[in-house]
């Protein structure tokens, strides 16, 4: 006898349950803890923002687990994916930053941190860190810089990037509002800091509405030559 039921699976697609025979379950070293990260580069500032929800499956482990980590006075990294790997990776980056500072008597620049992170991630090419990284900071000339990575270290410099569970929802919105894509006859105004912060808040509010893994609160880190300012904004808790 075949029993068939239709259920909504993890990613929103319909799943069909029917008996197919014995299935092998094996230990998976990974798990998905959700979260969305966003970074925007302006003329003389950079913004890195993340939600603070930590989830697993149908549960929420914590409502106060931000995903932005301060690396230097001019660089912040956002990491989403598997929380265990996020913690270890940031620990390793901090250790390497300290070693560099002691050997070279200066802090690492944002571009150098990005290149270093690429090789750290590629060192685990055959057993990857399940982390989607985005670095936001100021480059040597004081201009905003954003570097986005894939789990094994491929990276490039961008003006704006969204990563994590709601990235596919946020990226097109950023393309339109910051990149002025798919619009005609609109004046391309440069992005100032107040507008960028408001846009980030609006964009996360939208993400929290439609992505179950994003919500609770939003942590914004604004990087300028004066330093790093943090702001927390509440989001939907459901």
């Amino acid at each position: 006898i075949m029993f068939t039921t239709q259920v909504y699976g993890d990613n929103g697609k319909m799943k069909e349950y029917h008996y197919t025979g014995p299935v092998e379950h094996r230990f998976s070293p990974y798990s998905f803890n959700g979260g969305t990260v966003l970074a925007v580069a302006g003329e003389d500032f950079a913004i890195v923002a993340s939600d603070t929800r930590l989830s697993e499956g149908y549960s929420i482990h914590s409502r106060d687990s931000p995903k932005c980590y301060k690396l230097t006075n001019t660089t912040v990294i956002g990491c989403s994916g598997f929380h265990g790997d996020c913690l270890t990776l940031t620990k390793i980056i901090d250790a390497r930053l300290k070693m560099y500072k002691h050997s070279n008597n200066k802090s690492m620049t944002s571009g150098a941190i990005a290149a270093m992170l690429s090789t750290i991630l590629y060192g685990r090419r055959f057993f990857p860190y399940y982390v989607y990284n985005i670095i936001g900071g100021l480059d040597e000339e004081g201009k905003g810089a954003v570097y986005s990575f894939d789990p094994v270290g491929s990276y490039q410099r961008d003006t704006y990037k969204a990563g994590g569970s709601a990235s596919a929802m946020l990226q097109p919105l950023l393309d339109n509002q910051i990149g002025y894509k798919n619009m005609e006859g609109v004046q391309h105004l440069p992005l100032n800091q107040e507008k960028a912060v408001q846009l980030v808040k609006d964009v996360f509010i939208s993400a929290a509405e439609r992505d179950v893994y994003t919500g609770d609160a939003l942590r914004i880190c604004i990087v300028t030559k004066e330093g790093i300012k943090e702001e927390t904004v509440p989001l939907r808790k459901d």
Partner: protein, 267 residues
Amino acid sequence: MALFDVSGYKSHSELRGQILGTGVGHLIDRPNQQFSVPVGVDPSGFLKSCSREGGVSIDLNHGTTTLAFTFRHGVIVAVDSRASAGSYIASKEANKVIEINPYLLGTMSGSAADCQYWERLLGKECRLYKLRNKQRISVSAASKLLCNMMLGYRGMGLSMGSMIVGWDNKGPGLYYVDDNATRLSGRMFSTGCGSSYAYGVIDSGYREDMTVEEAYELGRRGITHATHRDAYSGGVVNLYHMQEDGWIKVCKEDVSELIHRYRKGMF
């Protein structure tokens, strides 16, 4: 110190040993890091097996069309700029040509991280060659270095299809190197999932005595038509021309505009 070991940092004493020369010169300097491998599992199938459990989906940046051909006035290199992670377009303006030195270019197709890492390492080896031997490395030698790096990791799931393009004492050079350590010299290659479409276009339009402008147009058309039909290629066409005194970047044009120009009757 567990964190020290796993962080991939090479200590000062190890570096000194290398500089002062402990053993006979290696063909390539061993990379600073050891690669961690999951215990007891075949590395090439490991990621796929994890991707079914509990919402975990590790998608790596992939997909491309690249092409290169030699003609009377040098070598033309044209690439698209789309990086896809699964079905999501991770980047619309990825850079798939690595400028190793003013006389050498490498293209990237397949896994973005593999290409970026190994071609950057190739760049380092070419620089070391120049410092040690006081002359620029030949295209043949550079492509062989890359090929041997791939041979060392054969069967472990790397994915890289690359063309090494340069101009050395023997004239213009074009080599195709891939993750199986295949290395082929030739006059025309195209790699990536859109390569079949590109071959159709450049095979039909190619003549050895083309003018420079005709060659640029052929390269652009090849990529444009491939992006039109292949879902995993798109973005902009980056066009390079390798000449006797080095490479120049010719143009960077959006494929949607190009396809409208070429297929006037269609839309």
